[in-house]
Symmetry: D2
Subunit: 349 residues, 4 copies
């Protein structure tokens, strides 16, 4: 019963097999290999658009590389308060983009509110002192389990771009979002105004494989240098390319995500039916937030369930856990089994 995070999962057999195959022979270093070329072509097909792709080994660095492309002195990145870039990356954005500040916007279940964005864009600056807005960063799935609709992405991206900002999508769980909304990758990204995407593979069946996808090659001008000087321009670049090649081939990535989402859906159903626990939010895919009786969480842990408590400040005051209750986060993955979910369901009654 591993619901701690989808990053506790292993890697899918197909991905591992592809990696083993690539590892048998090796190839020219630093991305001159065939796997890299193949996967770059595949990304262009997947997104139905010319793309410039940089393979990297972590979602954190995918975000940093994306944001670096738009960083300017005194730059400000707009994001949700609980955005991974704001609270889980050890100040990576501040350091790696050369001093950008992250300005947190109000959100609902991690989805930035248009009014909050409008207010941030409208705020009168006082000359150079207040810095310059450079980028809007949206997380899809959000950190709180919701999915922006395509219209929502387009609306926010449109506002941002009219104000001269670039639009970044942190797609650490891009696959889960695409599967949940049943839309095309193109619709979710460049057609809706996204400039650069952190395309995640690690959480959904890869070992360590992410791609930064720029939809305008000119914006990728310096990204190769940024990647190299951070030590993520790998000599054996094929170790990422081979993973992603298998991941993307024949829609494998979406099959994996659909499974994770289906398990999330079952988990949500179980929580809706529980008397000792309830959903904190309606989930869109594989991230489930629940409020449960305090004793229950201990019982679950003892029974072998792994999951994390969550700070309820992300909930409206009226919906927060009462006395004797706690909030937890539960994540399903491509590796979660129906048996795990059923066992959990029994335990939460």
């Amino acid at each position: 019963m591993i619901f701690a995070s989808d990053n506790w999962s292993g890697a899918s057999e197909r991905v591992v097999a592809a990696l083993a195959e690539a590892a048998r022979k090796g190839g020219p270093a630093y991305g001159a290999d065939d796997f890299t070329k193949a996967v770059e072509k595949r990304f262009a097909e997947l997104f139905e658009h010319e793309v410039t792709v940089f393979l990297v080994a972590s979602g954190t660095f995918a975000n940093l590389l994306s944001l670096s492309a738009y960083a300017r002195p005194g730059g400000i990145v707009l994001a949700h308060r609980e955005a991974h870039i704001n609270v889980d990356e050890t100040g990576g954005t501040e350091f790696m983009t050369g001093g950008s500040k992250i300005q947190a916007l109000d959100a609902e279940q991690g989805k930035i509110l248009p009014e909050a964005l409008a207010a941030a864009l409208a705020r009168t600056s006082h000359g150079y002192h207040s810095g310059q807005l450079t980028t809007l960063s949206l997380t899809q799935l959000t950190e709180l389990g919701a999915a922006y609709t395509i219209d929502e992405v387009a609306a926010l991206a449109g506002m941002a771009k009219r104000a001269g900002l670039a639009v970044h999508m942190d797609g650490s769980r891009f696959a889960n979002a695409v599967a949940a909304l049943d839309v095309s990758p193109a619709a979710m990204t460049w057609r809706a105004g996204v400039d650069v995407l952190s395309f995640g593979g690690t959480k959904n069946g890869c070992l360590a494989a992410e791609a930064v996808v720029f939809f305008d090659p000119r914006q990728a001008r310096d990204a190769g240098y940024v990647r190299q000087r951070a030590g993520q321009g790998f000599s054996k670049n094929w170790f990422i390319a081979a993973q992603l090649e298998a991941y993307l081939k024949d829609g494998h990535w979406l099959s994996l995500a659909r499974h994770a989402n289906a398990m999330g859906s079952r988990l949500a159903t179980a929580l809706r039916g529980s008397k000792r626990a309830r959903l904190a939010f309606e989930p869109a895919a594989n991230e489930i937030f629940a409020i449960m009786e305090s004793g229950l969480e201990e019982k679950l842990s003892k029974a072998g369930a792994a999951f994390y408590p969550w700070d309820p400040e992300c909930l409206p005051v009226a919906e927060r856990p009462g006395a004797g209750e706690i909030m937890v986060r539960l994540l399903t993955s491509w590796q979660t089994t129906a048996a795990e979910v059923e066992r959990f369901a029994e335990l939460v009654g």
Copy 2:
């Protein structure tokens, strides 16, 4: 006939098998997994010393993480002019350590000369203007194929430490050096005064696996933050740990390196016997530098040999290629076959 670089090699079967095994199940994220714990223990045994180990995915980042531990405002890192950190890492040291300057020292076949180090340490500074010396970085094997003897490491490290500098060893080819000198890892590092080691695995049988090994835990105080904010604190940390576990087990790493060195030795022999080519330096392990007739290199390429030209400025003026000659670098790896070397030997006549 791949002599372009040892990083063109694939990965050893044992390493891949261990990775596949780890990938089947996954595990707790960010280094809380069993593979990570096991490999940390293994490093302590290997070095016969308490160590604090940080697993990372590239040699460049291993160097950056190492150097970051000693970085200070206005800091200066002493290194050989052709050190990887100086010419191959896209200004990584300058950026990732928060503005350190690299000061190049005179060297012989990449081995920093004691007199050059003494001069750098003795140079009278003018207050804050000239910055502060923080670290001496030695590369073992050097970028030009030589190996520092233990006494040489100890002498340079001693001078540096008496002047208050930390000592870093870039051991991208540490295995080849240990195999070539037939010494213990402990003797080569902390016993000789090395504070932190970039321990390479990628070039010698891994896919992407390096370790930063601190011999004094206090010096590692901030390294976890530095690694995380650069996006090299991997959720599936076991993907590196499993590689290194197999790499270190039963002396696999040294077997691989011995093979690479043996192939290098044969290649050197072939060049010594050639009428159209000669050794530029006496090689210590698997990096061979040759000077050859200009036509020969084309013939080799056509026959399928991969290798790179090299800038002869690293040679004393008297030993540089004459008219109609060029300098090239040839690298053997754990994957190089005797047949490849023999074929090459025939071609250089």
Copy 3:
């Protein structure tokens, strides 16, 4: 009627005379001159403590130099949301300290609340991801015109230091605060737990003169390098030293501040008596915040009054301007005349 900012003022005659005197002759560069030595001694006397002093030319840089001394990778600085370092320094802290993040704390009239600090210190971190708390920064006077009492400073500083944080005081208006509270500089700083002070001179009679005062020389170890590489280690360091020498001599700085505060007090009295305007906060010294009828502000501007509108978000919801009202900030300085205040008082009726 200049109430726009105390930094619109000129410089006091004594300060200018001292500067002119110093300029006649010049002297050894980079702080080896007599003025610098004299002013360093004076600071030690003023604070009744050994101090290490770095003269700089702006309050922004004084803050950056102070915070740099405690910066660490993944570092987090706790401050009030409207702190100058957070909203008026163009991301200086993020850039110049090598990537620190500023985490905003709840406050009342700019005074950080103990509960907010306690919550920030207690928040369970998740390993390296969330970064490390390094420094608490207090602004005295606050940006909203309040003054921390000595007990308040001591309480917050005590909490911070018990948690391992350093304590910085942004004393851009330190003189106004000391004058308002009628306490000793020592009591306000190191005796209350402050580690480093940005001691302001520019707003209160100097041209461009601030001092970073460390109360523990060991913490100043790298500050000289930080100052020099930012181009604030001035060759003619005496141009700042001479200003501050005159500023500190015979209590000149406090006389100037007392005058500014007295003018602030008169302005507050006028606003208390007005029917068309009211105080937004009770001011402690020379920063006055008022809420006034919308038309009035135009009338004042036409009559030659200079002042800035202020974002009322800093007020509790219930106290914010109603329909037809706006919030403004008014600052008095050492140069403000009673006639200016009286004229203003007449206009606000």
Copy 4:
């Protein structure tokens, strides 16, 4: 007999008077004052070109602000080994430009040789690893007392610009160079291909006043943010503007420089006639390098002469001091008196 540096001088009476006048009244903050507007206009007239000017308080920061405008990830600045940015600014370029590396070029008396520049531009890079060339920085006067002719500047700048680099001139002693060559500021800069100039005032009669002059406003796009976040966007910006206004008015700056140069010329004449000392280089303006008998320098110091020893590595081997000789640097300034020079001449016999 102060020949230690021109930055040991005081400030000219006119400059001090203008500053005192400005200080009497003060004015709108952050460059909205009349002095700033006036001086901006004056710079445009002086350079016979549209300019975007940023006033700063030190030559080091003028260089940093200039170079920041062209900095890119993995960026490389080409400069002479003894360039101030390379050896006297505490790694400022490396830090403040976000990680640029300085690559030293061969030079003659500090003047970069065309062949050295050509070699640096031609060097084949290996992908992203070697970084990207961004800027050529020329120092005029050089650090070793020579002046580039206009043709020399144009030749180097032309080569750099054809290769896509920007051209920076460190004009810390721009006035001395203009006076020595008797050319127009326009001819020396934008007409010869210079993109941005660090225009120095401090060494030649100001207290702390430098200007960064961009000749293409588009290149200055982010400079305001860079200046502000480094704490060199001064609230009382008029304190620099007033100095420079007086400095530029009626050719005062050139009168001061001509005097300094004339004193330098006399000093050179004295050295040419000496039996115990000789010129190390032919000086162009106010920087004189001499080689003297070892005892003589002590005698001079005892007699009250201030000057610094200099590392003779900047000389060709054949011209270096012999046994019993040392090399020294002597600087004259606007404040140097003929009496000082004469007394020195007597002492060197």
